[in-house]
Symmetry: C2
Subunit: 434 residues, 2 copies
Amino acid sequence: MAASTALLTDHYELTMLQAALADGAAGRRCTFEVFARRLPEGRRYGVVAGTARVLDAIRDFRFDPDTLDHLRATAQLDQRTLEYLRDYRFTGDVDGYTEGELYFPGSPLLTVTGTFAEAVVLETVVLSILNHDCAIASAAARMVTAARDRRLIEMGSRRTHEDAAVAAARAAYLAGFDATSNLQAGADHGIPTTGTSAHAFTLLHDTEADAFRAQVAALGVGTTLLVDTFDITQGIRTAVEVAGPELGAVRIDSGDLSVLAVQARRQLDDLGCPGTRIVVSGDLDEFALAALAAAPVDGYGVGTSLVTGSGAPTAGLVYKLVDVDGRPVAKRSTSKNTHGGRKIAVRRHRATGTATEEVLGTDVAPPEEPHDRPLQIPMIRGGELVAGLDDLDASREHLRRALVTLPWDGLALSRGEPAIPTTVLPPPRREGTA
Amino acid sequence: MAASTALLTDHYELTMLQAALADGAAGRRCTFEVFARRLPEGRRYGVVAGTARVLDAIRDFRFDPDTLDHLRATAQLDQRTLEYLRDYRFTGDVDGYTEGELYFPGSPLLTVTGTFAEAVVLETVVLSILNHDCAIASAAARMVTAARDRRLIEMGSRRTHEDAAVAAARAAYLAGFDATSNLQAGADHGIPTTGTSAHAFTLLHDTEADAFRAQVAALGVGTTLLVDTFDITQGIRTAVEVAGPELGAVRIDSGDLSVLAVQARRQLDDLGCPGTRIVVSGDLDEFALAALAAAPVDGYGVGTSLVTGSGAPTAGLVYKLVDVDGRPVAKRSTSKNTHGGRKIAVRRHRATGTATEEVLGTDVAPPEEPHDRPLQIPMIRGGELVAGLDDLDASREHLRRALVTLPWDGLALSRGEPAIPTTVLPPPRREGTA
């Protein structure tokens, strides 16, 4: 595992660096923007997540002697380039959307300004983090909407890369999940962790009743007993026999959950356990959660679909050079929706608070209108991190409030257009260039 | 980032441990198996990858004092459990399929034997690694088949979690990719890295010719020039003017690649550059690669679809308890294809070498037939890693040979059934239990 983030980098960034150092272009003042050309198919909004991790990665982007030796031996870099990397430290500025903010096609999530040399080498690590974390948070936010106010537990660690799992738990919590199964996410990010038992625990024992007795003895009657290892009806009966009417919850992890939840609720009520909660899990996604809205379920465990972005495992964000020494630049291509120049973003709203439009001024802020909200905040100034940007609870609350501003159909799970349109304003006409 | 792998763990593994330590079941001798109930939809085989990373993770699964303090404060574990974790060290056995081996539904990729306590806590980290790496390698192998003998470069780091990117590069190389853009994968796994330049490098300069001159000056005429920033025909003309007839390659990263490749080839030939190669990239997957088979392309860069498993970002592997003190165990459920008892796996073949069947004996090896190949090898014995299991080039070669044994339709990209069926043999009748 990398101690520094410096090699979480595509080789071509260093070859470009070398060529630019040689011809002097490396020192040109550049602005790169991170944005999505489009949202994943049918999605109506994206959720910004991972920015605090990006800022840490920029801080930790240093080339130590071992790394330089490795690059000298394998990457065919000249002495000037190796010396540049040895002294590397990002000294520029970063602005961006706060974590928990919504984004739409073209929204400048992150703006990196500095010399070409210092900004170009950050492309890969910046995109890796944001493409992953935004994809997970965007999927998670839809699940939170679909779950209404029921408890949501993230339990997908086993279905994604072991370190991605920690970041996924963070993104899910930011999006409104209540807890995670992932202990490292608890340690790294202060997220509540939870869990009780798996089918293996029941199978380990000679009988289901033995297993339940062991769990209740260790964790108390308030625990959650997993009742579907053999027969669910018998499992619930045994659970109540062992734990009594104060049993905290039962979990069902397989089968037709909407039918089973109704049966389980009736059985628990009949057994005198009206306070025992029902938790369900097993291949749930936002659509399955929505379908369970009318079922007597108290909480959900969500795994695979969360950590794989529910069909959109990457956010498709790009890191594009938009300005060189004050000159707007863009790839000329009819199919790629790219605009040169640095964007200043505001979100327009009605007087009621409903968002109506994402407006991007080029080089200057868009003309002010009532109920505008500026979207970018300073994150790094002269290489120094601005304090206070890694506050997960604040990001969570920010998202909760932002979702309320969407037009009524913006929260629909069905496929549709972005909830609000994005308008890019042209740069102001320069004096003397009529 | 975690120094130890001990917290890459679901909370419930530790609550199960606590309950099992309290009632004495923790010491029962258990066997857990890792397998896929089914392949991702339409896939015909899976590729084992990540095993060497799993073995390292088991070795590094230790709870240091800080971790124990964190768990004491947050995970409601009793003193006995914390002391067990303090002294934790896996002392059991692991057997499994070698990296680069093919697998099918039910194949026991990894078999972990030890006390319940020592084996249950490994579930999450084992599955995280294998579910990710197998998903990537399985997708990558199809791309390698589709690319035939053309050079394949993995360049998807920016579209996945920053550490997952390194593992993805490793899995892609194992599956037959030639190189990666990811420098950390080069440093960690000795994979060749490559890269030249992005559109940003062209946009940085005042003209495309300036950019090409800078790149050629730094990297030589054998470099690859990216010619689609503005107009491809003009870009190729400029590239040849700058680099001369010895220009190594041009890269096209957008547009209809099959049409553009033909035009570029004709233009390069007309300009007297028959040796200049054409590399294409941009949203390629195995189907796009297959469609380019007749186009005059020399190499491919593949990104997003590789690191997201081309529609199957997780392999869906599970870690199931199958044996407790010699007693086969299994969850009773009609829908889940689970068999109790420890499996001994062989692959049957015709005399010609074509694979015909995956046969799993329960508790004992299947009856021997000619041309059987045993599939499991010892990986950990009494807690000690067997040496020599992390040889990427050997795994690569193993896969290459294994793919040749598949029936003719096993390599088809179209949706289909697993290339060979899996048969699970019942356990032998025990003496005296007629």
